[in-house]
Amino acid sequence: MNPLAVLLTLSSVLFALGLFAVLTRRNTILVLVGIELMLNAANLNFIGFWRYGPPDPQLTGPMFVLFGIAIAAAEAAVGLAIILMVFRHTRSTDLNASNSLHG
């Protein structure tokens, strides 16, 4: 069995699970969990193509993963700050409760 195929299958499943969480969950924290899963699936792809693809002295795949991890950390920080602000406003983490832009 091709190891790259196993890795890409794993990352496809992780991405689909993340998307499922984003679409079906109504708790903001659980939506954030889905987004993290999707980001991690993309990173897994980069690692797979770097490891099992043609040799690359520029290490493009791992570099993408490093930057991707930095972006994911930034995304989690901003996401949590927004969740906290919305919670302070609506006293709920339910996405259906935050249906107005009115301050």
């Binding site: 091709n2 190891p3 790259l4 195929a5 196993v6 890795l7 299958t9 794993l10 496809s12 499943v13 992780l14 991405f15 689909a16 699970l17 993340g18 998307l19 499922f20 969480a21 679409l23 079906t24 969950r25 109504r26 708790n27 924290i29 659980l30 954030l32 969990v33 993290e36 899963l37 991690n40 897994l44 690692i47 797979g48 770097w50 490891r51 693809g53 043609p54 040799p55 520029q58 290490l59 791992p62 993963v65 490093l66 930057f67 991890i69 930095a70 972006i71 994911a72 950390a73 989690a76 920080a77 901003v78 949590l80 700050a81 969740i83 906290l84 919670f87 709920s92 983490t93 339910d94």
Partner: protein, 163 residues
């Protein structure tokens, strides 16, 4: 290859748990497990540095997520989440399954044979590349992280009492 075959089902199971658990703390813990296992997979594939970065940065960020989940959820949220499930699972699957089928079909059909041999990831080379070829990107990420830190602090600040 052995590590890949052992870790892949474990990662999928942990991710499934993270997606299915109704209690946010449990979902957060399972997400931390998923990301730790992915870090182990990176190490097994030869990207030791990235595996350690994954552990420290990603799992650390998720730990903060879990703390927030503990802070701002109430028991009622969990009951509402379970009550809403029968209505949301169908449309969710309807959107997700075609995507998954397309991805798996593409993986199956278009993949070339993997060339043999091992790839190694020397940390010295990463450092050299980061501060030569990718220096503008590093600067951009530095600015982004500073902006994020200031923005998050501004967002999370208690609103002042004065108008």
């Amino acid at each position: 290859m052995t590590a890949l075959l052992i870790l892949s089902p474990l990662i999928m199971l942990a991710a499934l748990g993270a997606v299915w658990k109704a209690r946010p703390v449990h979902a957060g813990l399972l997400l931390a497990l998923t990301l730790s296992l992915a870090g182990m997979l990176y190490i097994a594939l030869g990207a030791e540095f990235l595996g350690l970065v994954q552990f420290m940065v990603y799992v650390g960020a998720v730990a903060v997520l879990i703390v927030f989940a503990l802070l701002i959820t109430r028991p009622r949220d969990e009951i509402e989440e379970i009550a809403r499930r029968p209505k949301s699972v169908g449309p969710g699957l309807l959107c997700t399954l075609p995507l998954l089928a397309t991805l798996l079909y593409t993986v199956d059909r278009t993949l070339p044979e993997a060339p043999p041999g091992t790839a190694d990831l020397p940390v010295r080379r990463i450092g050299e590349l980061l501060f030569t070829t990718h220096a503008p990107a590093v600067l951009a990420v530095a600015i982004l992280l500073t902006a994020v830190m200031l923005g998050a602090a501004l967002f999370a600040r208690e609103p002042s009492k004065k108008p």
